[in-house]
């Protein structure tokens, strides 16, 4: 790690800069020295120094503070440590004001320098990793990583690029498991907000009070347990995008609050009296038909029109069956690699089973099915028998003797049965039902199922 971080030592006294450089070189760093400010700047133009030790007093030409200011212009990311033999409060304050990261008085204990350098470089390493990860995430969610050859999906992907740099609100509607968040991320990471946060909130997973606090933050003492001021997701997403999943499930009060944020870009924290302004793009998603919800009076029409500036409807997997082989191959590659299994593909017979299945849980269900097959398979290729349980599931669905009860009661019973089988584990139950967790929470609330 050390060798990639060059260090510069600037001092008019050669003995000081060379001895310091020699000491740092023993620690494995690449160190250059400069006898004055101008030479330091010339060197900094050629080398991206991580740290520059700059002596405060250098007679003739630029002094330490001037050198530091010029250095910050040439290399804004370099950490500058001012060294002085005579510590005064004034010079220390001036150095820190002008942007010195540290201010040390020579001679100082070797441990102090050693810890200072390693602390700065540790931070730089994290910053670099952060940049790399951001780039990786950005690449991961670019539209070309959404796997499809379906014409409707390709239109959607083209649309995500067109609207990426707008601030207009987007409403994504589709069945569960089709990848609503993936599309939302593709929009965010393709646009001008890509460097800023993407914050995702599942509205169905939380009660009204908690969701209000989650979205808008709260002031100290605003409710029992609110120990300090906490920023909400809207503030955390400032400059970026907030993704509100399962928007159709929010209460009337939150609908009103959200409408105000969308209209005015301002809100109050729970228990607060100061307005907070934010610049946030809102992407909302739902698996409900919001237009119907409006007709039924369960969703405000003014909020619906505010959200529905740009509408994206993602087709369910059964309506884009040509994507099943592509997605299946993709999941085989990624999951086998993650699980360390030597499985390279999927047989034609197995693929036929996948193509014939209806995928009520959409792409997420397909992913879960492939993962289950990979875990249990002992072959180098997934074959039809690895998916025989899927055929049985489909047949069972066809042959099922349906009791004479309303559909909602059937769903309620199914959820209770799966939850019992999964010993109350909501994540596993949701995966088994082929729906996401937030949808399951929504259903638990709706059917008043205590788990």
């Amino acid at each position: 790690m050390k060798k990639v971080w060059p260090i510069l030592v600037v001092d008019d006294e050669e003995v000081m800069s060379e001895s310091m450089a020699a000491w740092l070189r023993e620690d494995g760093y690449r160190v250059d020295t400069a006898p004055n400010g101008q030479s330091a700047i010339d060197l900094a133009k050629k080398t991206d120094y991580a740290i520059a030790f700059v002596d405060l007093k250098m007679p003739g030409g630029m002094d330490g503070i001037e050198t530091m200011m010029e250095m910050r212009r040439v290399r804004p990311d370099a950490s500058i440590i001012i060294i002085t033999a005579f510590a005064t409060v004034d010079t220390a304050i001036q150095a820190m004001k002008e942007g010195a990261q540290e201010y040390i008085v020579k001679p100082c204990h070797p441990q102090e320098i050693s810890m200072l350098v390693s602390r700065i470089l540790k931070l730089k390493k994290l910053q670099t990793e952060n940049v790399i990860l951001r780039k990786k995430i950005s690449r991961k969610y670019k539209h070309h990583d959404i796997i499809t050859k379906n014409p409707r999906m390709e239109e959607i992907l083209a649309l995500t690029q067109e609207i990426a740099s707008l601030r207009s609100t987007v409403l994504i509607s589709s069945e569960s498991g089709t990848g609503k968040e993936l599309v939302a991320r593709a929009i965010h990471y393709s646009g001008v907000r890509a460097e800023k946060p993407f914050v995702s909130v599942s509205c169905a997973a939380l009660t009204e009070t908690l969701l209000e606090s989650e979205l808008f933050g709260h002031e100290k003492g605003s409710f029992t347990g609110a120990e300090g001021q906490t920023k909400g997701k809207f503030e955390l997403a400032d400059g970026g995008t907030i993704f509100l999943d399962e928007i159709g499930d929010i209460s009337a009060k939150l609908q009103a609050d959200l409408l105000r944020v969308l209209q005015e870009r301002r809100f109050y924290r729970v228990g607060g009296s100061d307005e907070v302004s934010v610049d946030v793009r809102v992407i909302a998603a739902t698996n409900k038909n919001l237009a119907d919800e409006v007709k039924e009076g369960r969703f405000r029409d003014d909020l619906y029109y505010r959200l529905n500036v740009i509408e994206i409807r993602i087709p369910p997997l059964r309506e884009r069956r040509e994507d099943i082989p592509l997605l299946a191959e993709h999941f085989v590659q990624t999951i086998a690699s993650e699980l360390g299994k030597d499985i390279s593909g999927i047989s034609g017979d197995a693929l036929k089973i996948l193509m014939d299945y209806d995928w009520p849980g959409n792409v997420r269900e397909l992913e879960n099915v492939i993962e289950r097959a990979i875990v249990t398979s002992h072959n180098g290729t997934l074959i039809d028998t690895d998916f025989s349980w899927l055929t049985q599931r489909a047949q069972a669905a066809q042959n099922w003797e349906v009791p004479d009860v309303p559909l909602s009661e059937l769903e309620r019973r199914a959820i209770i049965a799966v939850l019992e089988r999964k010993r109350g584990n909501v994540k596993e139950a949701a995966a088994s039902l082929g729906i996401d967790r937030s949808t399951l929470y929504d259903k638990l609330k709706r059917y008043e199922i205590v788990h």
Binding site: K2, E13, V15, M16, E18, S19, M20, A22, W23, R25, E26, D27, G28, F53, I83, K106, P107, C108, H109, P110, Q111, I113, S114
Partner: protein, 184 residues
């Protein structure tokens, strides 16, 4: 033919120089010879700090080095420092020929404790191996017990072992093998 020279800067007890010679001979494949001790160079004492300037001592070592010396190791009782640091246990030219080790802060007396020869010898072994390691191009090692790990206080010197870690040791073996009897 490679030769390592050993000398004292100022007065150094004879047994301590003998220990240093044994340490180098046990570890280094080349013969170890002594050169006459040198006095502290003029201007090397910093009256204000009450310490010796490590840079001046290194200069004197270099100026007086026998031409055939592959490495020169100096040992001194003087407390060494460089302008930016309050002290150094020793100093070496990275991938160079010269190194100096100070006994001052290796002695228990420096910390107000009774003298202890065994402790001094152990610390000297570590510092000699450390500084000579630098002259062969080794930088500080992240293995805390390796003799090449950075010690910024005596506690860290004491927590090292008197040997190189596997990785630093292998590096040195490669350097010696590549040298074929000549200076690497």
């Amino acid at each position: 033919m490679s030769v390592v020279y050993l000398l004292a800067i100022g007065a150094v007890p004879a047994p301590v120089l003998d220990w240093a010679e044994t340490i180098v001979s046990e570890w280094c494949p080349w013969p170890v010879k002594r050169t006459p001790s040198l006095p502290f160079p003029e201007g090397s004492y910093d009256v204000q700090r009450g310490q010796y300037k490590s840079v001046e001592i290194m200069k004197a070592v270099a100026q007086n080095a026998p031409r055939e010396a592959t490495r020169v190791l100096a040992v001194t009782e003087g407390d060494l420092a460089i302008p930016t640091l309050t002290f150094v246990f020793g100093q070496a030219q990275l991938d160079g020929r010269f190194a100096v080790v100070s006994l001052s802060r290796l002695r228990q007396e420096f910390y107000g404790l009774p003298p202890d020869e065994a402790i001094l010898r152990e610390r000297l072994t570590k510092e000699v191996l450390h500084e000579l390691g630098h002259t062969f191009g080794l930088t500080h090692c992240s293995t805390p017990v390796c003799v090449m790990s950075l010690a910024t206080h005596i506690g860290l010197v004491d927590s090292k072992e008197q040997r190189y870690c596997e990785s630093c040791g292998a590096f040195l073996v490669r350097r010696f093998a590549a040298s074929n009897g000549d200076a690497p």
